[in-house]
Symmetry: C2
Subunit: 440 residues, 2 copies
């Protein structure tokens, strides 16, 4: 249920489009319906706004020792993979993927997508994440489950079929999925086109996918240069890098979300920057699967638009954007031997505003009047965040899911004082455990 | 208050001295006074043991959907530095240390050590840590506070004075501190000797410190090869590496805890391995301060005894051993391009058994009959750990402080179902905030 809420006497931390993260202490924020309607330090103005918008019927949320911040947008996820969490760790990539994951994925049924997705949403919400770019099969089930849970999503449509050993574009599939998003998505779900990578389809097929994305004006979701092997194979097949190849086929635009990008050449960076393509950095996954340390500082200098993702729970093994912010900063510092790079406000901006933009939600990710009310409340009255120090540093380097008290998406509390309000976690537990055992 | 507790129908995960982590499902564990008295799968045997040890007056702790594991021993900490958390991040090391930290440290008074330490203990306990090797001034206050809180500690004695520009050994200081540990430490506090690093004292002084450590038979606590600059300066001053220099002065033994060791030569590794010196790896701190990525896999292959530490909260900025386990594994995989190295059971062993051994507590860190009852209870009935999968992987890659339900040290609950029982956190908050403001 959406209503009017006055967050009172709270510390507001937010990025903005023009300046880095700001901190406003002893502040007030009014949310009504799905929007942020007041942000400032005047109690009187906040009260007046709340009263006028609700005819006096509003909730006051006590903000003392609390931070109000934009929620995170996770720019690269494979949500149903949480059902494969911790079943095959410390494996070589090929062994992990082809012997452990794909044989299980091949036997998934409709409910597995629904409940695997909901399990991940529960973890994301408890960790302050309210939006994700999701690349996975089962788009219909995932969309319906997300809309019900009140979670914002950019979800891939398949857009292709594989028959008698040949891939072909599937317009109808995309059209149907766009219609489903419009009819059942409650304004929370946006479609994208799954273009897995340069190594999964025959070369002739990429132009078809590119046409499909253009025809329906939907973003492209793709993995790029995750491993050295991918680059070597691409060079051998096409005589160029994955970025160059995808660019030639017209798949790189300012709505494309390119995940990983661990091994880029200078020319790759120039192309991604010129195309304004979003790069979703996956620090944990790239380290855990031993793909390498992406050159975040180089990409930043090249002017590439950066955001952060967790990748699937089976290669991370969390969906925790606090860990990803921290690690993105630490990895960049360690790699460059420079502790001043990739500072707290940089990664905070990537995890919030840039993540939302990459997912296609332009009026989210910033605490400003008129923006959508996607908000998290952090309780810093706890040992791991005390004393507060710089609130931006504290959010990035010290905070974690334990400190997330409430999460609001589109003006609706989906986590209220540590309780999930839109997901029946007991049901999700029961169903996902059953799935895990069936797919053994 | 110590009593008899029967942990019932629980999943027990533990390292051992001879084999890697084991998992025992539907298990029972009985603790009486300060010891583990039963570990096994017979409900009857567990009940009988609990009854006979308590004359029937024991607590049954429901272990369904829970893991019982050894607590962590953090092998390198500077506990009072939590009062400097998040005040100066993303700074160059020299700027951070000499302009932000040391000027504040110079103005610390006795209470600051006490409450800064207690703040860190509260965070450690909530994160499943029950023991630390602590390198900091204020040893007396820290010892008294630890003993009161029921926390296990290896604490540095200063053992030296600085007068008229000259360092000299101070036997009395060491003697007094050993006496304090014996009289007031409640068996929980062990002394060590602070030998900060090769770069803080004049060359002539290291032999004196070495004699002091031998005379009182106490371990040495030292930073080694944290930065490239340290190595270069040592080579220029002494014509050898920090490891070689400390070895020449007799400061490396099988009780020495050497923190960081980011930049070691092959000969350094050979020496550390031969001396059986403990290396405390600080993955977060080394990355955040841009010191580099330590060669954990090389050290492991050289047979060096490895454990994990957080370093101080002002260069981490957490005291979370879950993060350190995860990162130690991920960093090693990323650095070597091999996802099979530094597996979950390796880092779990370092964080538990090896940490305790490095801190000098030989009968801790393993869930076996006769060992001290240092135990954590993890609640995996939550989105971030569900479904459980491999419990060792889950503890290392998915768990976090949010899932730590209870912590027992020496048979006493210091965290009971999410509540700290021995630390008055409201008082600690009040005092540390005051300190932080005074030291601005």
């Amino acid at each position: 249920m959406k209503k009017t809420v006055l967050f009172s006497d709270i510390t507001i931390v937010s990025s903005h489009d023009d300046v880095k993260a700001t901190v406003m202490e002893n502040a007030f924020c009014v949310v009504s319906d799905d929007r942020i309607c007041y942000v400032g330090q005047s109690k009187e103005a906040a009260l007046e706004k709340a009263e006028s918008l609700s005819s006096g019927d509003f909730e006051t949320y006590d903000g003392r020792n609390k931070i109000l911040a934009p929620t995170f947008a996770n720019a690269h996820a494979h949500t149903p993979m949480s059902i494969f969490r911790n079943i095959a760790d410390d494996f070589a990539l090929q062994d992990w993927l082809f012997n452990e994951i794909i044989p299980r994925e091949d036997r998934m049924i409709a409910d597995d997508f629904t409940y695997g997705h909901l399990l991940t949403l529960a973890e994301m919400i408890e960790g302050g994440t309210a939006c994700a770019a999701n690349m996975y099969d089962g788009a219909d089930q995932i969309t319906l489950a997300s809309a019900e849970a009140g979670f914002r999503l950019q979800q891939t449509a398949m857009g292709k079929t594989f028959k008698d050993g040949v891939w072909s574009a599937d317009s109808k599939n995309v059209e149907d999925f766009i219609a489903l998003c419009n009819e059942k998505g409650k304004g929370l779900i946006k479609p994208s086109l799954l273009v897995h990578s340069v190594y999964l389809y025959p070369g002739s097929f990429y132009a078809d996918l590119s046409e499909l994305a253009k025809k329906y004006e939907i973003p492209v979701s793709v993995h790029i240069s995750e491993t050295i092997k991918e680059n070597e194979d691409c060079l051998s097949s096409y005589g160029c890098t994955p970025v160059e190849y995808l660019d030639q086929t017209g798949l790189l635009s300012d709505t494309t979300v390119a995940a990983h990008c661990v091994h880029l050449t200078e020319n790759d960076m120039r192309i991604l920057s010129e195309r304004k393509t979003w790069v979703a950095h996956n620090a944990s996954s790239n380290m855990k699967l031993a793909s390498g340390f992406a050159d975040m500082v180089g990409m930043q200098k090249a002017g590439i638009r950066l955001c952060l993702g967790t990748d699937g729970a089976s290669s991370n093994n969390n969906q925790d954007m606090f860990i990803e912010m921290r690690l993105a900063s630490f990895m960049a510092k360690g790699k460059t031997y420079d502790p001043t790079v990739m500072c707290a406000s940089d990664v905070f901006h990537m995890a919030t505003r840039n993540g939302y933009l990459a997912c296609g939600f332009e009026d989210c990710g910033i605490i400003e009047e008129g923006m959508k009310a996607d908000i998290q409340i952090i309780d810093y009255d706890c040992p791991q965040m005390w004393p507060l120090g710089n609130p931006v540093s504290s959010l990035v380097y010290s905070c974690g899911p334990k400190c997330v008290e409430s999460v609001m998406i589109d003006g609706r509390f989906v986590l209220y004082k540590h309780d999930l309000t839109t997901i029946d976690f007991e049901k999700v537990k029961f169903e996902t455990k059953k799935t895990m055992e069936r797919l053994k």
